[in-house]
Amino acid sequence: MALRWRTSPTGPSPLGAILSYAILGFWTFVVLFPLYWLVITAFKLPVHVNEGPTYIPFVDFAPSLHAWRYILIDLGNDTLRPYLNTVIVGVTSSILTLIFGAAATYGLSRFTYRVRLATVLVFLGFVVLAALGIQLGAPWQLAVAGGLGAFALARGAVLRRVGGPRLGNADIAFWMISQRMLPPVAIVIPIYILFQRLGMLDTRTALVVAYIAANLPIAVWLLRDYFRTIPLELEESAAIDGANRYQILWRIVLPLSLPGLVATFLFIFVLAWNEYLLALFLSSAKAQTMPLLVAAQNATRGPQWWYMSVLILLMIGPVIVLAIVLERYIARGLLLGAVRG
C-alpha cells in the first residue's frame, strides 16, 4: 500500500485541521440529530411524544418498547414479508441496473453511434400504430410483432437510403436522462396498465423491471464520467494482447472504475430501496415493500410517529451496513496507484 496517493501531499495545517473538524463536526450534528430524534421517538409512548419534547431516555421520559412490540410481534409477518420483498427487489434491481448500465455506458463512451432521426420517427410511428391496434382490440402480442416486423421491413427497404439529421451519443444519453423528467404521478397509471396487460401485477419481477428502467438513466450518467477518466492506453495494450471488447470491459474498465461503480450502486440501491409510488401501484398484497408501510402509518388518526420511527430505523439499518462495507472502495487513489505500479 505504499502507493496510496494523498489528495494533499502536505496534509492540512493545524489551523486548517481545526477548522475542518469544526465544520465536519457541525454537519455531523446536523445529520445525526434527526436520526437521534427518530431513535428516541421509537421508544416513546404516544403520550410522551404528544406532551411536548423530551430528550433523554430514563432522564426525562421512561422508554417503552410498545412500538417495537407492535411492529415486530403483533404485525409479525406483515412486517417481515414487505421487508424481504424490499431486500430482494432492491438487490436484484440494483445489480441488474449496474450491469446494463455499465455495458451501455461503456458503449456510449467508446463507440460512436449515429442513429438517423428518420428511423426514430418511423419507429415511433409504428409504436403509435401498434398502440392504436391494441386499443381497437388486437391482441398485444400480434400488435407488437406486427409493429416490429413492419419497422424491420421499412428499415431494410427504405430507411437505409434516406439521409437527414442523425442522433449522436450525447443525444442518446440525453434521451435516457430525459426519461426521469416526467413526474411519477404521470407515468404510474400507464405503467400499471402495462403490467396488468402482461399479468405481472403484484409480483416482485414487475417491480424489478420497473426499477431497472427508472434507475438506468441515472446509472449511465453517473458512470459516464468515471469511464471517461480511464486511460485509453490500458485498453489499447489489452487489445494488443488479444482481449476482445467484453474482456476489456470486464478485466480493465470495471475494476478501474470501481469507486464509481460502488458510488453508483449505492445510489441506485437506495433509490430502489426507498421507492414509493410504483411500489404502491404495482403491488397489492404479496409484493408490497417497506416504504408503503412507512407511509401507511399516517392514516385516519394522524401520523403514528412511534411506529413510523421504528420502521424507518428498520429500513435504514441494512443500508448503513452496506455503506460501511462499500465505503472503502470509494478510495479510488489506491486502485489507480496499484494499477500504475
Binding site: L45, P46, V47, V49, N50, E51, G52, F58, A62, P63, S64, L65, H66, W68, R69, L72, I73, G76, N77, L80, I189, Y192, I193, Q196, L201, D202, L280, F281, S284, A285, L292, L293, A295, A296, Q297, N298, A299, T300, R301, G302, P303, Q304
Partner: protein, 509 residues
C-alpha cells in the same frame, strides 16, 4: 404488565423481542405451506372460496377484519384475505383496480363518501335484496341516518356500515365545571369559551395552553372541520334539503351571508388556537386535546376512545362530548341572507338553535365488487354481514384500536360495554348521549356524494380554505373563488348528471 419499563425490564424485553423475531423467521422457513395441511370440513357453505378484502393499513378498521377472519372461516369455510394499502392512496388504488378491469379486490371497505365515483360507473353490487333476506344483520337496529342515507344511493343499498362517522365538539368537563360554564350551544358560545380559556395553563405544566385546537392543515381534514361549522347555517329543513347545493339547480350554497359568517367563525377560532394551527391535522389536534393542551376541539368520535387510552391520554374522565353547536340564524336560500330561526325556518331547532350534525366522511363501510364471481360475492356479503351483526359490532365499537364508532341503536343502550372498556359511567353516558342526540337529529348533514366529490372538496374547497386562512383571500374573494371553482367542475362533468347524482345521494326521487 405496565408499558413503562425499568432499565432491566427494558433490556430483557429487547432480547425477548429480538429472539421472537428470529423465531418467527425460522418458523416461516421451516413450514412454508401451512394451509395445505388443513383438511376440508364437509358441509361448510363457502368451502374453498377466497375473498380479497381491501382497506387501508390499520390498526384501525383493518384490525377487526383481520381478527375476525379466522372465526368466519371456521363458520363458513371462506378464506378472507385482508389486503391493506396506505390510507392516502386507497381511493386511487381501488379505482384503478376497477377502471382497468383488474378486479383483484372483491370486497372493499372504504369511506362511502367516494360511493358516487364507484356506484355511478356501475362498479358496486346492489345489496338491497341480500339485506332484505338477512335477518341476522338486524338492519333496523342501524341508526336511520346510516341506513337511509349513508348506505343508500338512488334508493338502492350499496354498503353495509361498519363504523359511524360524524363530528362532535369535545370539551374539558373539569375546566368548564370549575368556571361554571355550560358546554357550547352555538358557535358564538364556542368562540366565547375558547377565548375564556386561551392563554391559560390547562394541564398544570406551567405553559400557557389554547382555547381551541382544530385540524386546519391543507390536504388533511380542514374542509370537513369547516363544514361542521357551516352546516348549521346552511341546512335547517332536514337531511334531504342538502347542505352543499340547491337540489333543483345545483347552484352551490357558497356565496351568501351564511357562508361568510361560517368562514369568519372558522377563521376566528384560530385566534384562540395554537400558532401553528394551519399545519395541524387530526393527529395533532387529538394529541393536543388528550394531553390537556386545548379546552375545546372539533372531531369525529375517536376522541371518546382515545381519551381513555392510558398510553395516550392525560384527561381520562375529564372529557365531555356534545352535538355540534348550531346557530340562531340560518340561510334563506331565496335571498342569500341570514334569517332568524322560527318554526318555519328551523323546524328541527332545539331551544331555538338549529343544529346540523355533519356526517363527515361517512363512516367506514363495506361494499362488493359487481364483477366478482357470484360465489365470491355471496361469501363477501356474508363476511360483511357477520362483521356488522350486533354480536361482533357491539364489542368492536368499544375497542379504541378498531377505529369503529357506534352506529347501531343497541350500541347506545348497553353502557356496561363502555364501562368495561375503561370509561367511567358518567363519561360513557355523556359520550353516548352526544352521539345519540346527533344521530337522532333529522337535520343530519350527509357528506357530499356526487361524482368528483374529491375535486369539489379535497381540491377546490380545501385550497380556498387554506388560502383564506393564510390571508391570501378576503371572505368575499374566497366565496367567489369557491363558487366559481365548484360551478366549473359541475359544468365540466355535466350539470344535469351531477344534479341527478346529488338528488340520488339524498334519496330524492
Amino acid at each position: 404488565m405496565t408499558r413503562v419499563l425499568s432499565r432491566r425490564h427494558f433490556l430483557g424485553t429487547v432480547v425477548a423481542a429480538g429472539s421472537a423475531l428470529l423465531a418467527a423467521c425460522r418458523r416461516e422457513q421451516a413450514t412454508p405451506t401451512v394451509p395445505a395441511a388443513r383438511t376440508p370440513a364437509a358441509g361448510l357453505q363457502f368451502e374453498g372460496v377466497e375473498v380479497n378484502v381491501i382497506t387501508f393499513t390499520g390498526p384501525q378498521i383493518a384490525e377487526p377484519l383481520q381478527r375476525r377472519a379466522p372465526d368466519f372461516q371456521k363458520l363458513t369455510g371462506a378464506k378472507i384475505n385482508v389486503i391493506t394499502v396506505p390510507f392516502a392512496d386507497l381511493y386511487q388504488k381501488i379505482l384503478t383496480d376497477f377502471t382497468t378491469g383488474t378486479n383483484s379486490y372483491h370486497v372493499i371497505v372504504f369511506a362511502p363518501q367516494w360511493m358516487a365515483d364507484y356506484v355511478e360507473p356501475g362498479y358496486l353490487e346492489d345489496l338491497t335484496p341480500r339485506i332484505e333476506a338477512d335477518p341476522a344483520l338486524q338492519w333496523d337496529d342501524i341508526a336511520p341516518f346510516f341506513r337511509n342515507f349513508s348506505a343508500t344511493y338512488g334508493g338502492k343499498i350499496y354498503t353495509i356500515p361498519l363504523d359511524g362517522d360524524f363530528q362532535m365538539v369535545y370539551y374539558r368537563t373539569d375546566l368548564l365545571e370549575a368556571e361554571g360554564l355550560k358546554p357550547p350551544e352555538t358557535w358564538e358560545d364556542y368562540l366565547a369559551i375558547a377565548q375564556h380559556f386561551h392563554g391559560k395553563d390547562l394541564n398544570g405544566d406551567g405553559v400557557p395552553d389554547f382555547g381551541s385546537g382544530i385540524a386546519k392543515r391543507r390536504g388533511a381534514q380542514s374542509y370537513w372541520m369547516f363544514w361542521s361549522i357551516a352546516a348549521s347555517f346552511l341546512q335547517s329543513q332536514g337531511t334531504q334539503q342538502g347542505a352543499f347545493f340547491d337540489v333543483d339547480t345545483l347552484e352551490p350554497l357558497t356565496n351568501n351571508e351564511a357562508f361568510a359568517r361560517a368562514l369568519e367563525i372558522y377563521k376566528e377560532t384560530g385566534k384562540y388556537g395554537p400558532p401553528d394551527e394551519l399545519n395541524w391535522d387530526v393527529g395533532d389536534s387529538r394529541a393536543a386535546f388528550v394531553t390537556g393542551r386545548c379546552a375545546l376541539t372539533l372531531d369525529w368520535g375517536d376522541i371518546g376512545t382515545l381519551a381513555i387510552d392510558p398510553e395516550q391520554s392525560k384527561v381520562k374522565d375529564k372529557v365531555g362530548a356534545i352535538i355540534l353547536p348550531g346557530t340562531k340564524e340560518v340561510l334563506d336560500r331565496k335571498t342569500g341572507k341570514l334569517v332568524t330561526c322560527d318554526a318555519n325556518t328551523c323546524p328541527h331547532a332545539i331551544n331555538g338553535v338549529n343544529h346540523a350534525p355533519y356526517a363527515a366522511f361517512g363512516g367506514w363501510s363495506g361494499a362488493i365488487n359487481k364483477n366478482a364471481p357470484a360465489k365470491v360475492k355471496d361469501a363477501g356479503y356474508a363476511f360483511l354481514s357477520y362483521m356488522s351483526q350486533p354480536a361482533q359490532a357491539n364489542v368492536d365499537v368499544t375497542i379504541g384500536k378498531t377505529g369503529f364508532n357506534p352506529y347501531r341503536i343497541s350500541q347506545f343502550e348497553n353502557i356496561d360495554l363502555w364501562v368495561k372498556a375503561g370509561m367511567s359511567e358518567a363519561a360513557a353516558r355523556n359520550y353516548l348521549g352526544a352521539i345519540k342526540e346527533s344521530l337522532n337529529s333529522p337535520n343530519m348533514v350527509l357528506d357530499l356524494r356526487i361524482p368528483g366529490a374529491q375535486r369539489y372538496q379535497g381540491v377546490v374547497l380545501d385550497t380556498v380554505l387554506s388560502r383564506y386562512l393564510a390571508g391570501e383571500l378576503t371572505t368575499k374573494q374566497a366565496m367567489e373563488e369557491l363558487t366559481r371553482g365548484w360551478n366549473e367542475i359541475t359544468n365540466e362533468l355535466g350539470r344535469d348528471q351531477q344534479k341527478q347524482a346529488y338528488r340520488s345521494s339524498l334519496s330524492i326521487r
